[in-house]
Amino acid sequence: MRAEGLPLDGRTWRFLQNPDAYCEASGWRLAREPTRRQFATAAEILHRLSRGNGNPVRGVLLADDVGLGKTTVAALVAWVVAGNCGNVRVLAPNSVMQRRWAEELEAHLEPLARRSNFGLDSSRLKAGKVDRLHPGRVQVSTHQRLVGGQVNPSCDLLIIDEAHRAKGEACAFNRVLQEQGSLARAMLILTATPFSISLGEFRQLLGFIGADEAIGAVQAHAQLLDDLHRDRAGRDVIALGEKLAGTARAAIEKLSPYVIRHGVDDLPAERRHFGEVALQPWEIPVEPASEGELELLLRTDRLLRLTRRTGGERTNDPRFHVGWEHLCSEIEATEERLANAEQEAIAKRSHDAAKKQLGLCIQRPHPKMAAVARAISSRVDAHEKVLVFCHHRATALELLHQLSQELRIKPRDPSGLGERKWREIWSGLLRVPSDEGPAHSRWPSDVEQLREVFLDWLCSSGVRAQVTRWLPRVPRDAPALTELLRTTRVRHRPEDGVPTIAQAANALFESLVDSRSTSTLQLLRSISAGARFPGAMNDGDRTLGAWQPNEGTVHPLNLHTGQPDIVISLFNSPFGPDVLVTTDRLSEGIDLHRCCRLLVHYELDPSPVRTLQRNGRIRRVGSWASLTRQPIEYAYPRFDGTRDARAVEIMKVRLECFDLLLGGVPKVDVEEELDSRQSDVSRVLAVAQSQLKSANRKLTVR
């Protein structure tokens, strides 16, 4: 079906041809290089959607790598459409992202007002609103609201962020889009991983944007990839590799009117803005599994097999290989099944032996946890922040406990000035609500009270000890400390762009009291009523966990279980806990790059998409790595001799293949036992690699 196209006046986006002037208008808040590419991309999208081009498309899928600023591109497109009296709906994956969208859209209002004739102001932006959408407006909502029927997708342009969540025919979001997506005249879909686990799923996204003509070619490629992973003897590896490259090329040819994709590696000029990845990964040496540990794992596997209820339960849970806790609970749980085992006496002996071995092993921390804690400790001592991802909550909890024990800061104040003096100094340095400033309009009415809460935290013994460690010398008196806080850059960094301690504290305060962050404000208010500040370091704990624990689980004080906004703000500042342990809850769409360039994949999700998403959290424009001109470092520690090491090895191969094959890497359950067929697959992929690399570049904007 031919697309109608949006009635856009081509002259209204001429400003996109002059990114430098725009950067200047933003006060150089925007860097030139990414902005150029982002502008070119926005212009290209507008061109493709515009009725005026003679052959408009119904939608565009923007599939840039994580961290390249898809939101910026989409925000520009949204404002141009709104400026042409169109109405735009943005669907963010969650409320945190909804807020981020609002910030992004708002950030463009001022420069756009200077560089275009749209006459835009903040009244055009309707964040969180779900009422009727008038022409010239941009409304930001969430996927969930669409699913819940609170949002009508009818609009001129529907922007769907993190659209890979719509993949899977059974998914409710997908269903609603299938049913109501056509109510939008045009669609812009954003996802870094459109071609993730199964190319078949990609087909659905293509359907939303009217790219039906490309579906056949994509399916042909998907089929070949699928066949590649099926058992087949005696195939011609070279011929198959070339055939695969051929189908990929054909698919890309068909996709090119609808899909735009930039890989980080395609953009050498921009790399410095989001940080270079270290040539060598961060190696964390972990002692291989000892005989006793291996024995425990094998005994558990056997015990679970002897006592399983249906025969289908997993007995070699990936969690067993990265911590003790899950092993403990699973061994414990077998006790009540012993009586039903086929050979009760044998199951009982097996249980007793496993329990005994467990008792021996847990006398010391899990080797991988201990090694990771040591490695992180040394980086934290060097004034770095570290982000740690786990796949399971139980593992994250155990690791958080281990790190918490390892990473303690002595809450002492060598200056001897005392908390009161510090408070006086910080009161003088921290912006007061009456000050003029760009954030002022977003401050809540009780900002004064919240400022006291923030000051309490800032002057707590743990944070004081942390800040003191950044100072070049021990201040003799209050003026000296004031001066040092005003002039010393955070975390011992000498680079120009790095803020001073005082600047960073003000930025953090602004972020925390932003009226749009309702969850943070709520939390700060509860703290003023006696609740604990997340990331309080009074007891010297330099770690913080953030995930929603299982119901009924007792969680430690350093685990934040509420909305993650405050954790994100803290972690993006130099203050507070140096280590954030989290799950994949924070692996998508969240910025964690402002003060962190080190990431540890403690546990891996089998999907390479998830790994890429995680990596994207710290490799973004304006990252700490680019600011401090240090490399981004990813660590994939592995517990040799166990399944954990295999998962790391396989992920390495998948990441190498991912981009080259449009992400067509099959999902593999870590429980699954694979055989040597996979090496055959690797050989075919190797043959296809060089050709596919160049084919993918056809999707970039030049």
Binding site: E295, L298, D301, I346, A353, G641, E673, L674, S676
Partner: protein, 636 residues
């Protein structure tokens, strides 16, 4: 058209597992035929005898382990020192290629001529147990399958879990035949054939089937042979026509033929014999007089009695098929089949049997048969096309030379792991009978001290014992000498399973025997397939996937894969233990315990390896297997 592949006749269903078998044959079974053809087929072995040393060792190892499982449950019953009538060839025992076979397969001989060709095959299957009954004209030799055309009948019956005398009775003469055969084979044979009678008691005989058996018997005492043949069709409704096709015709005279006809209930003039003319290919070969034989005197008796002869066609008859519709002219095989067709009015029966047309096979009137014979009758048409003899002459042979009566009638030697015991029977007390136990090539024979005793019939019964308790070499055969007469009998190995298990594998370098046995034992319980050079079935490539640079796309963790493989072996072993629990088979229980003990020892040895990924799984497997063995001992 290519000739039929003779081995096809031996094929067995891969879903069935042999649990016991009884074979009867005239000549002593040919060990080479059993080892290289019959047993691998019936046991569904995964390997074939191969010239390559390592593969050959594995083949024999696999065979021996399966035979060990069935030890005492595979019987071969053949003739003793007698003669087959018509053939006139005294039994001879050429040196055996695989003398060790008789450690596993029990060879019994009967005092007299065992000419029946019966196979009873007991199978287990996931859906139950089955018994195959095969009655044919086929001896246990390669030549019988490769060079001869045989007639055979095969039926499979499902076995009920419980026995009943009523069911047993449905098998008619087959039951007393088996009892008599067992008794004639001696004490050990009787005990083992009784197992097969119990199997028959668990199934009903297929409808419309009757058995016709001959057992050497005193005159007029029992209904065997010709009398049973006469019982096949009810009396009345017209005269009985009898047609015969057999490659050997015995030394009939008019009296004996008349007596036979009377016993059957047929008039001699209604007897028709299918025979060959002098130009037929089967009139050549043999010892010069052809492979089909009929003494001229018997022909005369037949003609004088009014019986008629019809001719089998051959190449000269152009389009005529050589023997039957599916037998081509180019087929060089000759018919060893024996069948009889009886018709009275509309009633008819076709008898497929081992019995040649001879007085020894059928008896003659009051004189009972001299042989053990067995046939099965059912409703079927006469299968051959016959031609008139004129103008051709029937192929006739000279009178068979009756060999001197055998002196050494029967012997049986057993070894219980402590001593070799011999029982023998001779027709005369002199010259002195001596016996020696042979232990294999290069070993000095052991002389047996014998005690003699004369029985009521004036025959010499003797018994001797010699001590031998070494597990290697094992006693292979006992050679008896009495003057010119010589008789060799294999030694029945009656050692308890624990001792037997220490016997090195046959045809295998003794240095490798234990390793191969371990590898095959693992394989038999679902462990890794034993391969030449990798006997123990253990990964030999370094310390596992990580250290050895295995494919990075392979998720398998070596220690887990190894542990699960060993535990699967244990689980399979346990399953077999559980499966036998309901059967009360003490021998099987003992064998499984021995297997378990051996596996535990094997795992313990593997647990001494340097490589961690192999050491720990093996240690845990050994430990659990010992728990299980202890648990079994406690329960029992």
């Amino acid at each position: 058209m290519s000739l039929p592949e003779w081995r096809h006749a031996l094929s067995a269903s891969p879903e069935h597992r042999l649990e016991a078998a009884l074979f009867t044959t005239y000549e002593p079974a040919d060990p080479a035929f059993l080892v290289e053809h019959l047993l691998p087929s019936l046991l569904n072995l995964s390997r074939e005898p191969n010239e390559a040393t390592a593969s050959r060792a594995l083949y024999f190892g696999e065979l021996a382990l399966e035979l060990e499982r069935l030890r005492g449950k595979l019987l071969v019953i053949s003739s003793g020192a007698g003669e087959e009538d018509g053939g006139g060839t005294p039994l001879s025992r050429p040196p055996s290629r695989y003398p060790w076979l008789w450690r596993y397969v029990m060879p019994f001989t009967v005092d007299g001529v065992q000419h029946a060709k019966l196979w009873l095959l007991h199978w287990s299957h996931e859906e139950g147990e089955y018994l195959d009954i095969v009655i044919s004209s086929t001896n246990l030799s390669e030549s019988a399958f490769r060079d001869q055309i045989q007639a055979g009948w095969r039926a499979q019956v499902k076995l009920d879990p419980r026995r009943s005398d009523t069911r047993l009775r449905t098998w008619g003469p087959l039951v007393p035949f088996l009892q008599a055969l067992g008794t004639a084979g001696g004490e050990n044979a009787a005990e083992r054939t009784a197992h097969f009678l119990e199997l028959l008691a668990r199934a009903e005989c297929p409808e419309g089937v009757s058995f016709v058996a001959s057992v050497p018997s005193a005159p007029g005492r029992e209904r065997w042979g010709a009398r049973l043949l006469g019982d096949l069709l009810p009396e009345g409704r017209g005269p009985l026509h009898v047609w015969v096709c057999a490659p050997y015709v015995g030394s009939w005279n008019t009296n004996s033929l008349a007596a036979w006809c009377k016993a059957v209930g047929a008039r001699p003039d209604l007897l028709k014999l299918a025979w060959i003319d002098t130009g037929h290919p089967w009139a050549a070969g043999g010892s010069g007089e052809g492979v089909w034989r009929m003494p001229r005197s018997a022909h005369t008796a037949l003609v004088e009695s009014g019986a008629s002869l019809s001719r089998l066609g051959h190449a000269r008859d152009e389009s005529f098929s050589a023997f039957h519709a599916s037998h081509s002219q180019a087929d060089p095989r000759w018919s060893h089949a024996k069948f009889y067709f009886l018709r009275r009015g509309r009633e008819r029966r076709l008898l497929v049997t081992s019995a040649n047309f001879s007085p020894s096979a059928w008896g003659q009137g009051e004189r009972g048969p001299r042989n053990f014979e067995l046939g099965v009758a059912f409703d079927a048409e006469w299968p051959l096309e016959l031609l008139p003899f004129e103008p051709y002459e029937p192929h006739l042979t000279s009178e068979p030379e009756r060999p001197a009566p055998a002196i050494l009638l029967w012997a049986q030697a057993t070894w219980d792991g402590r001593r070799v015991t011999l029982q023998a029977r001779s027709t005369q007390a002199t010259p002195v009978l001596t016996a020696a136990v042979h232990l294999g090539p290069g070993q000095e024979p052991l002389e047996l001290g014998l005690e003699y005793q004369e029985d009521e019939a004036g025959r010499l019964q003797c018994r001797g014992v010699v001590r031998w308790s070494e597990p290697h070499p094992t006693p292979v055969l006992v050679r008896l000498s009495q003057g010119e007469a010589i008789l060799e009998v294999p030694v029945l190995d009656l050692r308890p399973p624990e001792e037997f298990a220490r016997t090195p594998l046959p045809e295998v370098d003794p240095k490798l025997s234990e390793e191969i046995r371990d590898a095959l034992l693992l394989e038999s319980y679902g462990g890794p397939t034993a391969e030449p050079g990798r006997w123990a079935g253990v990964r030999e490539e370094g310390s596992g996937a990580f250290a050895s640079g295995a494919s990075p796309s392979d998720y398998t963790v070596p220690a887990f894969a190894q542990a699960r493989a060993w535990f699967e072996v244990i689980d399979n072993w346990q399953k077999r233990w559980n499966a036998q629990a309901g059967h009360g088979d003490e021998q099987e229980r003992t064998r499984l315990k021995l297997d378990g003990t051996r596996l535990a020892a094997l795992f313990s040895r593997k647990a001494e390896q340097e490589v961690l990924e192999q050491r720990v799984p093996a240690r845990l497997a050994a430990e659990e297997l010992r728990w299980r063995l202890k648990e079994m001992s406690r329960e029992s």
